[in-house]
Symmetry: D2
Subunit: 157 residues, 4 copies
């Protein structure tokens, strides 16, 4: 049986909580999932003093950027899997599938200095196969300047 929209919504709300509160490193970063839908994902990260890399220029550390792009892409790949599933999944199954999704590889292009009060990361699926998904993610600052762009390949359950 194909999932109906309200089932999706329940799943997505559950995944949002899982991602924000159950993944320890996501919690350390303090990510905030602003929008999560079958075709849309937007994650916010607030600038904090401890995220700085270049302490003279006071800009975001490259590792914070790659972390955010990686986790955004991974979540989008997972949403893609969920969207395609033709039957109702229990929360246990959702959790299991979530932990089976993993990054295979990631390329990050650092395009502009990571300056801003907050940053927004958005993802779009380039390929959704049976075994792998390829996802592109863009990170912009509060002025909509493109800070970095990433392409990740993810293993999907």
């Amino acid at each position: 049986m194909k999932q109906n929209p309200s089932e999706y919504k329940t799943h997505l709300a559950y995944i949002k909580k899982l991602y924000e509160e159950q993944v320890p490193f996501n919690k350390l970063l303090g990510i905030n999932i602003l929008k999560i839908d079958v075709d849309e994902l937007c994650i916010q990260l607030e600038m904090k003093p401890e995220f700085v890399g270049n302490f003279i220029k006071k800009i975001l550390h490259g590792g914070v950027i790659s972390s955010l792009l990686d986790l955004t892409g991974g979540l989008m790949a997972f949403i893609g899997v969920l969207k395609r599933t033709q039957r109702y999944l229990s929360f246990e199954e959702v959790t299991k599938r979530f932990t089976q999704t993993g990054t295979i590889d990631l390329r990050v292009d650092y395009l502009n200095p990571g300056k801003g009060k907050y940053f927004l990361s958005e993802a779009s699926i380039l390929r959704l196969g049976n075994k792998i998904a390829v996802v592109r993610t863009d990170l912009k600052n509060d002025q909509s300047v493109l800070i970095a762009s990433g392409t990740g390949t993810y293993l999907i359950g």
Copy 2:
């Protein structure tokens, strides 16, 4: 005037301190530079509960891995620049050059689950040009299992 070995050592000790204590996100991760020499670099990261990504498998978050690979590669690129400099640099100049080094792009391949009590990241320079450096970095766990491998392109001053 070309630098002599003792000048290198002083510079490298200074950079080690800069990297471990002055870069906020490095401090948050708690990186520990075990070896730093003109041809060798080894950085240690201890596993901490807040670094976990997959909370069922209790393995390192992909973002922690990419962070460590990025910062190791960037430091190696910087050491390469320093090695080539034909004259004595003041600490002020070292700091300035350090902040001018930046990641252009990075590819990370996630090869094995990030399981371990600690992780070691090592770098080797593939290309050292006038404008850019290409550095490869490997991340192994306490059992010498290769967890991830990265290749980064860095802008050098």
Copy 3:
């Protein structure tokens, strides 16, 4: 003195010829530059039997795809350099700068089977710095299916 539009046009026509006829491997592939402007670039490649990789599925070899993405990105980076130049360049200078542009690294994502009578490759600049340019290129077939997407970092003169 800044170049005027008619100078650009003369330069671009010259570069088109250089690229199509003077670069031996481009000639072997038989690339056809359909549009070349300061903000737009579209290169066509006709399918030929000798470009096939998978001989059962009769699809484009991955190497032909990466070649096309690489050369499209490199040309776009070069156009970016030219656009920014604040003075008139002789053809000799254009040629010299052209040969100084080089690919530093390239990532290619193969998204759909390379099936088609012809393929179109388009580029857009993600970053244009003093030393390097980052360019994204998309390859589509005659049905506008996205076959592959690439991101390249280029050294610019």
Copy 4:
């Protein structure tokens, strides 16, 4: 039933022929598989005038380099699959599996100018999973200078 060494040898000789003579673009390049074994692969490419990219410096086109790295990595991934197969495969099955192997993504780092009379491409497997393989490939010239290094992710049957 596990394959015995003589079966491997027959398969590998068959694959060598397939790769060199049945893949049209490989034939156009004129690749020559010097060594092919379960743990070793070395492919030679002779420099030809039509492979030149930069016509002033007379060096290999970036696309020829990425082509060679891609096909070397793909072949190595396929050998890895074959090595792991626990039973005898007919030539038909080998061909079928060969055509099911495909590149998901590839990163190429161009490290030194592609100057030489011939080039050698070697591969090593970084990861061999159930669904994907990650392979690193190095391209050297006749003086053993490292011209380029690649990392590819391949879908395996």
